[in-house]
Amino acid sequence: MGELGRAHGVRGLLRLKAHCEAPIDSYNPLRDERGRVFVLHPRGADLVAIEGVADRNAAEALTGTKLYVERDRLPEPDPDEFYLTDLVGLAAFTAEGKALGQVRAVEDYGAGPFLTLSGPPERLVPFTMAAVPVVDIQGGRITVEPPAEIEVKPPEGEAEE
């Protein structure tokens, strides 16, 4: 969910690099890799106070700590909406049962999400009902209908500069 940065001031505040969309304190309590529990209280844009951390020395000892939350504590997504963490790692098959590898990443650059399938060969598939008709999180697989690809090359002599 985030990572604690450097200490700020002498009262135990820390910088926080949050990776989540919701405010991080909505996921309290959070845990680190060793199972320690943290309760965070935001203090401004990128600072947090942590319960039980009252001075700079204690705060400095936490720099670099990565914060996690259990998957079952995330709120239920809307229909046809999926957590990226659920999608990554799913096995991809065609409707005929041919393996296309695993979902390696889900990216979105402002023009709709798309899945990167590991292959080989690697494929980028738009995350639409037409291209990915079945998503079975429990079964650990998705069904992909790879879209037809049409190449539109510039005519000879009209290449871009």
């Binding site: 969910m1 990776h19 969309e21 979105d108 402002g110 709709g112 980028l124 539109v152």
Partner: protein
């Protein structure tokens, strides 16, 4: 009238012809293009393009609010994967 208005939006002519042909078919297809400089026009809405970023053809599903932007804006050439955390993807 400003020069940019009377000249109109720039689109590579061959792309316009191909997109009009693709609109006629209802198949699930990605139109692979190299022309990052072309403007997204209203007649492209609903189509999916694969816009080259120098390495891969990134799928770009054209929607109404993308009209007027260039295709290259949706296919970054330098990327960072980021962290999934609580991020969600909506199936279109």
């Amino acid at each position: 009238m400003p020069r940019s208005v009377w000249k109109g939006p720039f689109v590579d002519g061959y792309l316009l012809k191909k997109a009009e042909a693709a609109r006629a078919s209802t198949r699930n297809e990605v139109i692979r293009i190299w022309t990052r400089r072309s403007t997204v026009l209203p007649q492209f809405v609903g189509l999916t393009f694969g816009v080259y970023n120098g390495k891969k053809f990134l799928p770009v599903q054209v929607t109404e609010n993308m009209v007027g932007h260039k295709f290259g804006e949706f296919s970054p050439t330098r990327t960072f994967g980021g962290h999934s955390a609580d991020k969600k993807a909506k199936r279109g």
